[in-house]
Symmetry: C2
Subunit: 158 residues, 2 copies
């Protein structure tokens, strides 16, 4: 019981953004998603589509939180190349996004004591901040660095 975004108009994301290759699960369901990797940092983005909206045809709060979750927890992957679980997510809703708008999300690692990672994050549309919040993630164990991650970039330059 869901829209199939394949039928919607294909729009080009801003320069530097590439498709996220999530072909299954909730990542696919809330897509199409894009990412831009630069120097071990990642920004995720999407166009607000009809299948993302609430009753006012704005981006649904659940969609913005899902994008925040994906982008903010990615900080742990990019910085530490670890498996992790989400412990807590706090989202303050500041402004809305309309259908068709391009929305981005990213965060900063501000603490990592005892493998408890705290990320301050934002979701924004152009100059407008939509969501401000904090994610707390628990590192489970290290894994092989993946393309774009800081440890991967260090391996490449070693």
């Amino acid at each position: 019981m869901s829209d199939d975004g394949m039928g919607e108009t294909r729009r080009e994301p801003p320069p530097g953004f590439h498709d996220v290759d999530w072909t299954r699960g909730f990542g696919r369901q809330v897509g199409p998603l894009f990412r831009r990797d630069e120097g071990g940092r990642r920004v995720m983005g999407l166009f607000v589509d009809a299948h993302h909206t609430n009753g006012l045809m704005n981006a649904h709060g659940g969609l913005l939180m899902t994008l925040a979750d994906m982008a903010w927890d990615n900080v742990v992957s990019m910085e530490r190349s670890m498996f992790w679980v989400t412990v807590r997510l706090t989202c303050d809703f500041l402004d809305g996004a309309k259908t068709g708008e391009w929305v981005e999300a990213g965060g900063e690692l501000i603490s990592n004591a005892d493998n408890l990672f705290v990320v301050q994050g934002l979701v924004w549309a152009g100059e407008r901040k939509l969501v401000s919040g904090t994610g707390v993630f628990k590192g489970i164990r290290p894994r092989e660095p993946r393309p774009g991650e800081k440890a991967f970039l260090e391996q490449m330059s070693a």
Copy 2:
């Protein structure tokens, strides 16, 4: 770019739950969703499907937060029949849910000073608590009571 849940096996929710008639937007995208109304209180539920999962085939954090958002903000509708916006949502992740599991969500209105509504909520699967959290919502203006809401039930019995 999304799964079409229509192709999946139709499962019957627990007694008392009925389809949520959201035929568009993010509510449809994350469905099929169900609700059980009783005495002006509502519990929402869904079966975790393939299109709800993370890389571990568990319910994605974004899906659980979306269900929390929908169920906890519904408390404002049920108790006060108002239009509202979400101000803040805090989610503590306690446990996961696997594909096929039936998951429910609901909350309690604990404060309503100055039309700032605070809801303590849970998401659970049987005896297991999955998400515990708080939603803060700002009431915008009253609207006509809808079926299931306390004000609607009072009109009916008047």
